[in-house]
């Protein structure tokens, strides 16, 4: 079954599509507007940029329809970095915009008070928080590449898949609620660990066996 990626016009998709194509035998379909979508097993919401701009583009390009369609069919949705933030309710980055509301969480600015620099840039370990997703437990202690100033704060602890540290703050580096998953870091830019994780995500989403 196939993988589709939303094109919000504000970020590069090549690394992501190439990474996934190297792990599956199908081409990744880039969806720039609702009519581009043929449906699939997994819809990826990537992201670099601004929460408000991204949500407005989602609306303008009729892509909320695509997201809803995946949800209705019980297929998987994956948000990466800003894409993960878009899964939430709202973000301090742009309080005028409402997120997709698929994860019960607010997005906040990383506090400087926690003793570490903002933005949070570099390789950082994750710890698995939710052990019922057995296939992800082996990523505990592994480094992934983070580059962000905002973080997601889920209201339900069961929605937290991975946790990481920013100074004294522990934050959710991955979230999961039913068939919706999000990662704060960039798996497609996290070398071997990232490729390995993408592989597991594709299995979880029933894209490959």
């Amino acid at each position: 079954m196939s993988v589709e990626v939303l094109d919000l016009g504000i970020n590069n998709l090549r690394s992501l599509t190439k990474s996934i194509e190297s792990l599956t035998r199908t081409n990744v379909n880039v969806v720039g507007k609702a009519s581009d979508s043929h449906g699939g097993a997994l819809l990826i919401i990537p992201g670099v940029g601004n929460f408000g701009t991204a949500m407005r583009r989602l609306h303008d390009r009729n892509l909320l329809q695509t997201v809803s369609s995946y949800l209705e069919k019980g297929n998987a949705i994956l948000g990466i970095c800003l894409g993960m933030h878009l899964l939430g309710i709202r973000s301090e980055e742009d309080i005028s915009a409402l997120g997709l509301g698929l994860i019960d969480a607010e997005v906040k600015l990383l506090p400087k008070a926690s003793g570490a620099r903002v933005p949070n840039v570099g390789w950082l370990e994750v710890e698995v928080s939710k052990s019922n997703q057995k296939q992800f437990t082996r990523f505990s202690g592994k480094d992934f590449y983070f580059t962000h100033s905002y973080f997601m704060n889920p209201n339900d602890i069961n929605d937290i898949l991975f946790m990481s540290n920013h100074g004294e703050l522990k934050f959710a580096s991955a979230v999961n609620h039913e068939n919706v998953m999000g990662f704060q870091f960039h798996p497609e830019k996290s070398s071997k660990n990232g490729a390995s994780l993408l592989s597991e995500i594709l299995i979880w989403a029933n894209v490959k066996n």
């Binding site: 190439k18 670099v48 940029g49 983070f146 962000h148 920013h166 830019k189």
Partner: protein
């Protein structure tokens, strides 16, 4: 804990890879794509690609290079050199780079930093500051051709206020010399900066990298060291790890 990054730097004149000495005497030393491929197989933490000639035509030509790099690099890379317009930033990011590095425009077109940070996020914007002397009392723009009576601290405050996500601290005095970093500047800057500081210019040995980290750098760059000495990025991480530095294993 966030790991300290060791970042190879590849310098280009728009056509090929180059090496210089103190921001001068540039000579061609190879192909950018080949150098990047080698670093990729060595699984480096990140890559920096800087165009030292930085002409208008280079910016366009480099987009194809960036796109080619994005095809095979599974680590982040930053691109800089001659960026003066928001369209330049957008083109570079859309073609696959994670971050842009903006130097001269910080002083000549400061609004660009603000606009770029707002549109793409601070984490995508690195400001480079070229120290002209040890300690950073004065600086340079335009690839070492234009001296400013502004200190590295003054420029860093400006960059941070405008929304830059990281500072790339270079030294026109030490670049390409393999004689060690400007530790005084690194120390001064890291004490006052609340955004990450990437130290560059002068790395010749693993020990130099360690000194820069002890002085407060969040990440260290090496250009000539990885190209012209037996030192490797992996060797650097191993050495640093043995010294107790938290690096990616």
């Amino acid at each position: 804990m966030l790991k300290t990054r060791v970042i190879p730097v590849i310098l280009t004149d728009g056509l090929s890879q180059v090496k210089g000495n103190k921001f001068d005497s540039w000579r061609t030393v190879g192909s950018v794509l080949s150098a990047a491929k080698v670093f990729s197989t060595r699984d480096v933490d990140e890559l920096v690609l800087l165009d030292v000639a930085a002409t208008e035509s280079n910016l366009t030509a480099n987009l194809e290079l960036i796109s080619n790099l994005a095809e095979f690099l599974r680590i982040p890379f930053a691109v800089g050199g001659g960026i003066r317009k928001i369209q330049d930033v957008e083109n570079i990011l859309k073609n696959g780079a994670e971050k842009v590095i903006i130097g001269t425009a910080l002083v000549e077109v400061p609004h660009l930093i603000e606009q770029a940070a707002s549109e793409f996020g601070s984490q995508a914007i690195v400001c480079s500051i070229d120290s002209g002397c040890d300690g950073g009392a004065y600086t340079y723009t335009r690839s070492g051709k234009n001296r400013l009576d502004l200190s590295i601290i003054e420029l860093a405050h400006l960059a941070e206020d405008l929304g830059a996500g990281e500072i790339l601290l270079q030294s026109t005095l030490r670049d390409g010399t393999l004689s060690g970093f400007d530790l005084e500047s690194i120390s001064k800057l890291s004490k006052v900066s609340s955004i990450p500081v990437i130290a560059s210019s002068g790395a010749g040995t693993y020990h130099h990298l360690h000194q820069a980290i002890l002085a407060g750098a969040d990440a260290v760059c090496a250009g000539a060291m990885f190209q012209f000495t037996p030192h490797t990025p992996k060797g650097a991480r191993e050495f640093l790890s043995e010294q107790g530095v938290n690096v990616r294993k």
